[in-house]
């Protein structure tokens, strides 16, 4: 295979019933293991699901100026983060347009692990000029599993033979699972109670086996990207190259977005001394963003009517979609949705959308384009606050 396989591939390949794979950062990962992703999705919300998230780009940043480097690059305040904390953060170019988003884990004093969706080594090096810091890519050396769902804690507690109640949301701890040293972070991409387990790639398979064996009685189900996609939309989590373009890949200005335009204003620490894009972001914060990133909930009755007109019951997308769909208000286009799908849990047709100016205010009635029997129609929808689904257990 010309694409790379993750360290878990021998296990995941054996589970693939329909040979449905998806590309991710030059690797192949399962789209779904079963012929439909339905059960894998429900496992996330009702029991626990296990995802191979090894393709993430990972960098170790160490040395006396490690925090200074990261603070130059990302929008959040890394200097303030304590050992054991994990930060979700975007990073921007000098115009304040978003390049990428990922996490920074404070593993020890002067020791950070950064994850990214795109290769970031060159960008980190460019920003490290004059700093006493070591940057090392560990993408291939570090494998990662994401364990998500209401039973995730119970499973990990048995597997790691320790109490994890004290491990707070967006914090991490070192642990051993059947003697295998791992880092467990209480993070994920589902908006549920969940953890990510980071391990040396050489130990990947025994870790997979240990988790599957421990987790099966708790309903642990290996799950692929199709299931994850539904969950992350419910959680209102954006996806690069789908919900926004990296400013480094954008061909025209209009393709770029700032963190404020992506609903990530809360991650922009304008109090920091200086960081990439700060001057532009200061101006934007004062002026207010031109776009708002928000949720859309499609009105069921409207959908039902559009389908009844052609003599059909409403057809709902069986998978999450990721195309650009126009959104209208009063006959005028006021934005576009970039991801959407049916939420089996909420029983709602939901989407993530970019809306101009005040149209992003929750409760605003808009219309989203849908195709009914080859014809473009507009279904009534309402602007909804993100996330759509935010259970107490996520943080509790």
């Amino acid at each position: 295979m010309s694409l790379r396989q993750t360290p878990f591939h021998p296990r995941t390949a054996a589970l693939s019933e329909g040979q449905a794979w998806r590309r991710w950062a030059g690797y192949v990962v399962a789209s779904s293991y079963e012929l439909s992703h339905d059960r894998e999705y429900h496992a996330i919300r009702s029991a626990a699901a296990l995802f191979d998230v090894s393709p993430l780009y990972k960098y170790m940043i160490t040395g006396p100026h490690a925090a200074r480097l990261l603070d130059r690059v990302v929008t959040r305040d890394v200097g303030k983060a304590k050992v054991g904390q994990v930060l979700y953060t975007p990073w921007c170019d000098s115009e304040g347009k978003q390049i990428d988003d990922g996490t920074i884990s404070v593993l020890a004093e002067q020791t950070y692990r950064m994850t990214a969706a795109d290769p970031s080594l060159r960008w980190l090096h460019l920003n490290a000029a004059g700093l006493d810091v070591t940057i090392e890519e560990v993408s291939e050396r570090t494998a990662a599993l994401s364990l998500q769902g209401p039973n995730a804690r119970a499973i990990l507690q048995v597997a790691a033979q320790r109490d994890l109640a004290g491990l707070r949301y967006f914090h991490l701890t070192d642990a051993k699972i059947r003697g295998i040293p791992v880092t467990i972070s209480r993070t994920g991409y589902t908006g549920d109670l969940g953890y990510e387990v980071w391990v040396d790639a050489a130990q990947a398979l025994p870790l997979w086996d240990a988790l599957i064996e421990t987790g099966t009685p708790y309903g642990l189900t290996p799950a692929g990207m199709l299931a994850l996609d539904v969950a992350r939309i419910e959680a209102g989590l954006l996806l690069i190259e789908v919900d926004y373009f990296s400013s480094r890949h954008a061909l025209i200005e209009a393709q770029k977005s700032s963190p404020f335009e992506l609903g990530l204003g809360w991650t922009v620490a304008l109090g920091k001394e200086s960081f990439n894009g700060k001057p532009a972001l200061v101006v934007e914060q004062q002026r207010g963003p031109a776009w708002q990133f928000t949720g859309l909930a499609v009105d069921w009755e409207s959908l039902e009517r559009l389908y009844a007109d052609v003599g059909l019951p409403p057809r709902l997308p069986t998978q999450a979609w990721r195309t650009s769909v126009p959104v209208y208000s009063g006959g005028k286009q006021v934005g576009y949705a970039t991801s959407g799908g049916w939420s089996p849990l909420l029983k709602q047709y939901i989407a993530l959308a970019h809306l101009e100016g005040t149209f992003g205010t929750p409760g605003t009635p808009v219309e989203m384009e849908i195709t009914v029997e080859h014809r473009r129609k507009r279904a009534a929808a309402r602007v909804s606050k993100l996330p759509f689904f935010n259970p107490d257990r996520k943080r509790a």
Binding site: A47, Y218, P314, W342, K347, Q348
Partner: protein, 530 residues
């Protein structure tokens, strides 16, 4: 709206079953002050989950969510109140020769499996599916409508009848004919027109006998074949499946929604009678003597209890009383709930796997199911009964301790009027017949049993109050449906007593955890300006 004084309510709902809770939620949503009175310590009626054996949760009576109305899910925002319907996709029918018939969630897989039995049937299956899709689409609106009275000259009835007539005329000749067949034929005869594989016909026709005192060859059973396809119409919406936490969780979600709208729910509060003054319901009296007054009283109980137990006969017209007395219950199903230390392996498909995440249908042949009915016709429980088996813990691991399991067995036939009556010995003999029959398809089952709970129609009646243990509050037979449910002239949720309403499954459309009766009743009450 003037607020009623303390101790009095706009509406009192008798019985906290799922329909009563739906009615209460809709009334409370409309701003009414509502009180629900439930005799048991918990809400849900026949939709309850109980930890009968430590650590093992039994979905005691009903075990699947069938056709829960999408508008109820939306109006009451049930997902936010904890409703989570999980897929229950496959059905495996073990055969007596050691083979099996399986229907899987994936269409191609199912067709290949059918092909193994009959390539002709595999092709017919798609055509049959298309026809049933059209039929279900045609019939489904009826679930959401107040039945018009065909003998009435009320313009509203006439208009509704006209619309219904046009709706069916619009089907076209072929589909109309198929619909008439569906409404009149036996499921076995109807399926004979399509398929040749006996085990396929047996398994499909079994859905037509659930909750009735009829066999697969009894006329009028074909119509229930549609129910399954109505579930498929909802497709991705999924109003059909297994509720996380069992069916009790559905009741809890509705109760939580009702409370959220301000309804008050009291458990351990059995109602003795409805208070009537001058032909008008004014409140209720509990068994302990407490009285509550209300502008409207709604009964979620079955028609016999609603009219003959909660009221004095003299408060009702004589012909109506005799109609209700003749309303057929004839409970025919039992339930066996089992705690297991390991899953049983079935001979036809050895081992433990995805087959345990769906249903096992013990319907190996039409003759098998018809013979099971023969026993019941003559007053005995089936020695080898039809069964629908699911393992709830395989769908929701929270139903049992990690690695352990619960098995839910729906059994038919177990006639309410057993020769000599039900007693402890008969109950255990019935339980043995059930377990022995499963054991014959899954040897070794018995060694995994930690605890078993056997529920006969008499037990169902005793615990839930459902007359004669009929799970649908009265048979879903053609003469007891639509504008005849529960009695001609009284199918619109109103009763001969003013301000007294009915909202249980004994009214249209009844049956299953649909909630449609409860919703339509609430809309009727609100429409009357209560």
């Amino acid at each position: 709206m003037p607020h009623p004084p303390p101790g009095t309510y706009d509406a009192i709902v008798i019985g906290g079953g799922h329909n009563g809770l739906v009615t209460a939620a809709y009334l409370a949503r409309a701003g009414k002050k509502v009180l629900v009175l439930e005799k048991r310590p918990r809400v849900g009626g026949a939709a309850v989950t109980e930890e009968i054996f430590p650590g093992f949760k039994f979905t005691m009576f009903s075990y699947v969510v069938s056709l829960l109305r999408p508008e109820i899910i939306r109006d009451l925002d049930l997902p936010r109140h904890g409703l989570h319907v999980l897929p229950l996709e496959s059905t495996v029918t073990p055969m007596e020769n050691g083979d099996y018939l399986a229907a899987w969630g994936d269409h191609d897989e199912t067709r290949r499996e059918l092909c193994r039995h009959s390539p002709r049937d595999a092709e017919a299956y798609d055509e049959y599916g298309r026809l049933m899709h059209h039929m279900a689409h045609a019939v489904r609106p009826i679930l959401g409508m107040v039945p018009p009275d065909p003998t009435s000259f009320d313009p509203r009835d006439l208009l509704a009848l006209l619309r219904l007539g046009k709706h069916f005329r619009g089907l076209g000749a072929e589909r109309l004919h198929a619909l008439v067949k569906l409404m009149t034929m036996s499921s076995a005869d109807f399926l004979d027109e399509w398929f040749e594989t006996d085990v396929l016909k047996a398994t499909k026709s079994a859905s037509g006998i659930i909750g009735t005192f009829l066999g697969p060859r009894s006329p009028g059973t074909a119509y229930v074949l549609l129910h399954h396809y109505m579930g498929e119409l909802d497709g991705v919406f999924r109003a059909w499946g297994f509720a996380k936490g069992g069916t009790g969780a559905v009741s809890e979600a509705i109760a939580s929604a009702a409370r959220g709208f301000g309804a008050e729910i009291r458990c351990d509060a059995p109602v003795a009678r409805v208070l009537v003054k001058g032909g008008r319901a004014t409140g209720v009296a509990l068994e302990n003597g407490d009285e509550f007054s209300a502008k409207v009283v709604v009964s979620g109980l079955d028609p016999r209890r609603t009219f003959l137990q909660l009221l004095e006969e003299r408060e009702l017209p004589a012909d109506f009383v005799s109609d209700i007395k003749r309303f057929k219950f004839r409970g025919s199903s039992g339930k066996v709930n089992v705690a297991l230390d390991a899953l049983p392996s079935f001979t036809c498909m050895p081992g433990v796997g995805r087959q345990h995440r769906g249903a096992f249908s013990i319907s190996p042949s039409l003759e098998y199911v018809e013979r099971a009915y023969d026993d019941a016709k003559y007053g005995e429980f089936s020695r080898r009964p039809y069964m629908d088996i699911v393992f709830p813990s395989m769908i929701d691991p929270g139903m049992a301790p990690p690695g352990k399991h619960v098995m839910s067995v729906f059994v038919q036939y177990a006639p309410y009027n057993l020769n000599g009556g039900w007693n402890d010995t008969k109950r255990e003999a019935f339980g043995d017949a059930v377990i022995n029959t499963i054991e014959s398809f899954a040897p070794g089952l018995k060694s995994h049993i930690l605890h078993r709970q056997v529920l006969t129609p008499a037990d169902i009646e005793r615990i839930t109050g459902l007359t004669e243990g009929n799970i649908f509050q009265g048979e879903l037979a053609l003469h007891q449906l639509f504008f005849m449910r529960p009695a001609a002239g009284w199918a619109k949720f109103r009763t001969p007593v003013r301000a007294y309403y009915q909202c249980g499954a004994g009214t249209h459309p009844g049956g299953g955890i649909m909630g449609a009766s409860g919703r339509l009743a609430a809309l009727a009450i609100l429409g009357d300006g209560a």
